[in-house]
């Protein structure tokens, strides 16, 4: 029987940034038992970890430092535990961000975080943040292998996902780019797959049936213990 007791436990890292309730409900829907926590031992004892987040990069890093959560997150990655980083969580994985000055990130994935330009090529004002639905595409140079072993498997290239963000990531190693999206002429990396880390700029928990499929795929990867073996090695 599918009760919370025999469900797989995943930790949703709570560092005071943003609203985590929809992440919890999506996990529940995908058959995962989500525990929202800032407790290191719970994080390390969970079978998967979600790094969510909304808000400012600098505040988020300060909060992770204050709660002494930086080394546990790095340990999760080192141990090969599946990690899903969402929105600001994805940006925090990078080396650095230009948000309100300059900030060091977790430096788990080499790369930087930059802001959308204020104007397009025609000089017209662009609405920032991007709020709403946009399409994720498989990078044209890649074959479908990475996509098909990632939480995006059985989701079509070109599917719509829900975004809310002003900044986006530029990973140094282009092979980690799992999907790209274009907003007001700027093409950016909308998902990353690197070893046991899956990161997305959009919110799968707010992206209707296709987003929930992503949580289910991630849950399957944890359950089948296939995650770290199957996901892309770089």
């Amino acid at each position: 029987m599918d009760t919370p007791h025999n469900r797989i436990q995943v930790a949703v890292i709570d560092y005071g940034m943003g609203n985590l309730f929809s992440v919890e409900r999506a996990c529940e829907h995908a058959g995962l038992n989500a525990v929202t926590t800032d407790d290191k031992s719970i994080i390390m004892n969970s079978e998967g970890v979600i790094l969510p987040g909304a808000g400012a990069f600098g505040d988020a890093m300060d909060s992770l430092k204050r709660k002494d959560l930086i080394s546990p997150i790095k340990d999760v990655v080192k141990e090969g535990k599946p990690l899903m980083a969402i929105c600001l969580g994805m940006q925090l994985l990078m080396s650095e961000s230009e948000e309100f000055g300059h900030h060091k990130g977790l430096n788990i994935i080499k790369g930087s975080v930059v802001r959308f330009p204020a104007k397009n090529r025609e000089g017209e004002k662009i609405k920032v943040p991007q709020v709403g639905w946009n399409r994720i595409f498989q990078p044209s140079s890649e074959d479908r292998t990475c996509w098909n072993i990632s939480p995006l498997k059985n989701i079509m290239s070109g599917e719509f996902m829900y975004f809310v963000h002003s900044y986006y990531t530029i990973p140094s190693d282009k092979r980690t780019v799992l999907s790209t999206t274009t907003y007001e002429e700027t093409q950016f990396c909308s998902s990353i797959l690197w070893r046991n880390v899956f990161a997305c700029q959009y919110h799968p928990e707010k992206s209707a049936a296709e987003g929930i499929k992503m949580y289910k795929n991630w849950a399957w990867a944890i359950k089948s213990k296939q995650g770290q073996k199957l996901w892309k090695e770089n």
Binding site: K125, W133, M156
Partner: protein
Amino acid sequence: MAKNIRVIPRLDIKGPNLVKGIHLEGLRVLGKPEQFARYYYETGADELIYMDIVASLYNRNSLHDIISKTAREIFIPLTVGGGLRTVEDIRNVLKAGADKVSLNTAAIKNPQIIAEASRKFGSSTILISIEAIKQPDGRYLAYTDNGREYTGMEVLDWAKRVETLGAGEIMLTSVDREGTGKGYDIELTRMVADAVSMPVIACGGAGNVEHIGQVIAEGRADAVAVASILHYDFIGYNRGEVDKEDEGNIEFLESRRTFSKIKPVNLYDIKDHLHKNGFQCRYNINQEVVSGHTA
């Protein structure tokens, strides 16, 4: 490449029921909000808005129940507004399952709540609802309590101020047009959309699909809230159940009348119309070939 326009059903809630009025007054009971929400989710709504429009007068528990039921099965952003006064009120509706909150009266009485709430929950969680009424001299003033309470504040000044305070979006309602089916107030929408860099959701007045295209093209809205045209379409072939012992005027629902100015449509029709007229929006990509949409 233009951005994707969001089409957002707005559900006004009174007690356990979905209601609809004209100029935010004269409420008629239409059915159970959860049923409408489910249907809109399945037919491609980009987000949902629940407005508890008489929140200050009634018990809030029914709203929290409706939010929780909705949030368990609906995975698109849900905005909840109406009668939220404190950061604690905000926390409670987020906890019940809302993704964003909409503030009006509380923000006007105490603008610092915008700064405080956006720090706590993230800017993207805080939507400011502006209820605008055009004055005889042509100015637009912001009102509260469904357009009943005068604040004396100019809409444009207030919109710019809420942006600096950290709000994430504006829902801009023309009280004059609301529920009339006469079309959105283009002048009002354009004025605000051009002045702020955050998204503006146009609300009030949609009577047909052409109105939606118009407020996007001419009013430069980033998103549109729609109510009557969708609700009347839904009840046209699907009689929802209604709590008869609860408050509300159900004669309208029983009579099966509709307004001449309002041409009911479903979300497929709206999106199809937008696509055919060159507006981008989210659609079911599995039906791409069938309906002739191109990427």
